[in-house]
């Protein structure tokens, strides 16, 4: 057993920043992470981090764009915090060493991103996430913060209604162990692997979200799933929005610049939900290529600009699609990319369970509402990572350790022993593939009642089949088959929440687009969903959106 004041579950950008903040506040901190921090999915973020740093820009402008982008579902006080802190966050990361791209005179460059009125995305080439993650990890090293690498969290221990500790699985030796602490910050990032097409890493299985749900936390706005318009056709590797920010143009199979039909003003730089729907509509109406993709044309930018500003895009197109983007358009298609919803927290990252905090993609404050704007996720990780880390440290100072955890440890032990001993007939991979297919086909870009009703039934059926699953490997060291079985349980539970929340919300808002309810309905649905686990059942409640000064208006671009 290990004892700390504050645990951070997940070592990505939010986790590293939370750990640093908690450590700076005097707490004894450890990071427990399924992956080495530099392997976390933060590094896949490419294009930029938003801040109103440029002349003529203001935090209010950034806030308005974010709120409009969210289709007015974001909590406006939360948006204000992030947008006010954004400039300081970028400057702080620069001071800590992030090699932001600069102009000849030495000032930070920015570039336009979808849905923003002004260019305000700061970047390091097209490897901004990698660069910020390096800086955050360097700070873990500089501050000598303990990191338990390749430990996957399995359960949050809650005793007497308060956080008491964490159970985690050591991938290297196959053992479970208990970590005691007074507070935890969950920063486990994305959970998009329940979708057939996704830009998420295979390890993005929403572990922290599922753990928080089971520990009595609420999952907020889970029906809002972002589909990124430009993933590479086939492997669904992310082609950053910066490709369009730098001037890239999308065309359908007939060579038409189809965005003229969907967003006459912003064209290719419309927010992601609108662009993804546009591509899907082109495909549905037979104007995409037969395999369902369209072209992203960068040829007019020229080889030099592509190499300088978009080296990763160049690399991906050449290596994974065999296309030189200076010569031929890149074949792209939408893919799941981000979950706007997450563990419900307040503006300090606190959940409804005392001692449990969350930040980053797995959390929902809500900054992104029904649709996230590009460049706001890295920002969220830094601003709310720090706030949650500080708040957790403060909580730990004021509260004594809650004892207990032996019961949770033995429950998890039994569950894993059961998985290992099962001679059931179901295979992990079969269930996983069926889940991905159901979610992509029935809870995807366009949704309707009958599809989602079928999806809910299908997911529940897969959950029943999971009870009969057999793990194909019985060894203890680096048993990824077992880890995947544990991850699948999390994906199934989250898919159930997403499908149920989506089915109930009878309107179209942001990324939640229903063909049977094509309009936004503020009178009935300007509210957040909250999913809870009561016994074995998912229960959904609602709470109002916090509006400060931006009254909901029609959202056009």
């Amino acid at each position: 057993m290990n004892r700390y004041d504050v645990l951070v579950l997940g070592g990505g950008l939010a986790g590293a920043m939370a750990a640093r903040a908690a450590s700076a506040a005097g707490a004894d901190v450890a990071v427990v992470s399924k992956l080495h921090p530099l392997r976390s999915h933060t590094v896949a973020a490419a294009g930029g981090i938003n801040a109103a740093l440029a002349e003529g820009d203001s935090w209010e402008g950034h806030a308005f764009d974010t709120i409009k982008g969210s289709d007015y579902l974001a909590d406006q006080d939360s948006v204000e915090i992030v947008c006010r802190e954004a400039a300081a966050a970028v400057v702080e990361m620069d001071h800590l060493g992030t090699p932001f791209s600069r102009d000849e005179a030495g000032k930070l460059f920015n570039r336009p991103f979808g849905g923003h009125g002004l260019p305000r995305a700061y970047f390091a080439g097209d490897r901004t996430g990698l660069s910020l993650m390096q800086t955050a990890w360097e700070q873990l090293v500089a501050n000598e913060i303990t990191v338990y690498n390749e430990w996957a969290g399995t359960s949050l221990i809650v005793e007497e209604g308060r956080f008491a500790g964490l159970i985690a699985y050591n991938v290297a030796d196959g053992r479970l162990d208990e970590f005691q602490a007074k507070a935890v910050v969950i920063c486990t990032g994305p959970g998009g692997q329940m979708y057939g097409k996704t830009t998420n890493a295979v390890t993005c299985t929403g572990d922290g979200l599922a753990m928080a749900l089971r520990a009595g936390g609420a999952l907020k706005d889970m029906e809002f799933v972002q589909f990124h318009p430009t993933s590479l056709h086939g492997p669904n590797i992310l082609i950053t929005e910066a490709a369009r920010g730098e001037g890239g143009i999308m065309k359908n199979a007939k060579g038409e610049r189809f965005m003229e039909r969907y967003s006459p003003k912003m064209l290719d730089m419309a927010p992601r939900d609108i662009v993804s729907r546009a591509i899907q509509t082109e495909a549905n109406e037979g104007r995409a290529y037969p395999e369902g993709y369209v072209d992203l044309d960068l040829t007019h930018l020229g080889a030099e600009r592509i190499r300088e500003r978009l080296p990763e895009v160049h690399e991906f197109a050449v290596n994974f699609a065999g296309v030189d983007p200076a010569e031929k358009p890149i074949p792209i298609e939408p893919a799941q990319h981000y979950i706007m919803g997450g563990i419900a927290t307040d503006n300090q990252g606190a959940t409804n369970v005392p001692g449990i905090y969350a930040a980053g993609e797995c959390a929902c404050v809500s900054l992104h509402g029904a649709n996230r704007l590009g460049g706001n996720a890295l920002l969220e990780c830094i601003v709310f990572g720090k706030l949650a880390g500080s708040a957790a440290a403060e909580f730990a100072q004021k509260h004594a350790q809650v004892e207990g955890g032996a019961a949770a440890l033995s429950t998890d032990d039994r569950r894993i022993d059961g998985l290992m001993a099962s001679e059931g007939t179901e295979r992990v991979e079969r269930i996983r593939q069926e889940l991905k297919r159901v979610m992509w086909e029935r809870v995807g870009i366009y949704r309707n009642d009958s599809d989602m009703t079928l999806a809910v039934g299908a997911v529940e059926d897969l959950q029943r089949r999971y009870a009969n699953v057999r793990v194909g490997a019985k060894n203890t060291k680096f048993n990824y088959a077992l880890l995947e079985a544990m991850e699948l349980r999390n994906l199934l539970d989250l898919a159930e929440v997403i499908a149920k929340c989506a089915l109930i919300r009878q309107e179209s808002r942001g990324a939640h687009a229903r063909t049977d309810y094509p309009k936004r309905n503020d009178a009935s649905w300007l509210k957040h969903s909250l999913a809870w686990l009561r016994g074995d059942r998912v229960e959904i409640t609602y709470e109002p959106v916090r509006i400060t000064k931006w009254e909901p208006k029609e959202r056009t671009y």
Binding site: L35, H36, L38, R39, S40, H41, V43, A44, L53, V90, V91, D94, H95, L96, G97, P99, S101, R102, D103, E104, A105, G106, K107, L108, A124, G125, R127, L130, S131, Q134, E138, V141, A142, A172, A201, V202, T203, G234, P235, I237, L238, E312, E315, F316, N319, F320, G322, V428, E429, V471, G472, A473, K474, N475, T476, K477, F478, N479, Y480, A481
Partner: protein, 326 residues
């Protein structure tokens, strides 16, 4: 991904296997896989793990060449399996063999112990050490000077370079290319104020002077970082900074004898870089050299055209001085 129905290319793949607990020792298993065009080595490993043998262990995550998890040795060369296509290798070599990275202990199948790798990276103090002159806003650093970091800043710490590093193979204490590229990233960053101290530390044993310049690190890096270039730049910087180390003395002595005679004077070089004490310590080597009749001539006659050598050297010196002023 890859083949959707029709274009299946059946091929054999040999995969290194080792489970410390099964008592069977290391071996290779063969699998039949679909290596259709566009399919990566990682796709094939996934097929095996998901559908044939779930006990096969390997690290992977992003599948887009940015997280650095899936570096392995494929047909004798280390790289990211997620961005390595299978078919071109089959066409070139006629076979596919996947093994774990080298220079790191093997833990299970294709999973290696990277603790030693990370320790080396930690050893270079991999974080910015800012001085007292921190500006209120972002630092002003002109593009050209920020771009000095380019040869190192995108390192994803996959370990490919260390796997191929011949110096690390010979000397397990050598910091290795990834750690030194990381070190360079701070030395080259004018926001960092510990540059001189860093160069002094990196000039010590197992540092920049221990690279034997085989160039493999540059060649295998999947993200086009150039660790060896970074190491060479740090050597130049440390000499310019007047940092005395055995390596810099050796380089200077080497240069001086070439200037004088156009040839390497091994005796003078060793004398200058090692000193008398060092020379005595090397007497074993000297004896061996004599016994093998490999003794170099002690007094070097200048080569013909030594003046051209001097001219060339002066030209380079002048050009370099102009470069640093700019």
């Amino acid at each position: 991904m890859g083949a959707e129905g029709a274009d299946v290319l059946v091929a054999m793949i040999k995969v290194y296997r080792f489970d410390p607990e099964d008592g069977r020792g290391a071996r290779y298993d063969e699998f039949e896989v679909d290596a259709a065009p566009g399919r990566t080595v990682l796709d094939l490993l996934h097929d095996i793990h998901y559908n044939e043998d779930p006990t096969l262990s390997f690290r992977r995550s992003c599948q887009s060449a940015i997280c650095g998890s899936c570096a392995m040795n494929v047909n004798g060369r280390t790289g990211l399996t997620c961005s390595t296509q299978a078919k071109p290798l089959l066409d070139r070599d006629g076979y596919l063999v996947v093994e774990p990275m080298k220079n790191m202990p093997i833990l299970k199948d294709l999973v290696v112990d990277m603790d030693g790798f990370w320790e080396s990276v930690h050893d270079v103090d991999p974080f910015l050490q800012a001085g007292r002159k921190v500006p209120k806003g972002p630092y002003i650093v002109p593009k050209a000077r920020m771009e000095l970091l380019k040869i190192a800043q995108d390192c994803i710490m996959c370990g490919s370079c260390l796997s191929e590093c011949t110096s690390r193979e010979a000397n397990p204490d050598y910091l290795g290319p990834a750690a030194l590229a990381k070190a360079y990233r701070f030395v080259a960053d004018e926001r960092d104020e510990a540059r001189h101290g860093r160069l002094m530390v990196y000039s010590e044993a197992n540092g920049i002077w221990d690279c034997d310049t085989c160039l493999y690190c540059n060649e295998v890096c999947p993200i086009h970082v150039k660790p060896m270039d970074a190491i060479m730049r740090m050597r130049e910087m440390s000499i310019e900074a007047g940092i005395q180390s055995q390596g810099s003395k050796h380089a200077i002595a080497f240069y001086d004898t070439i200037l004088k005679s156009g040839k390497l004077n091994e005796f003078a070089t060793a004398n200058k870089s090692l000193g008398l004490k060092g020379m005595v310590a090397q007497s074993g080597v000297a004896t061996k050299i004599i016994l093998h009749w490999k003794t170099p001539e002690i007094r070097k006659k200048p080569i013909e055209g030594v003046k051209d050598v001097t001219k060339l050297a002066n030209l380079i010196e002048r050009k370099k001085r102009r470069g640093t002023r700019r």
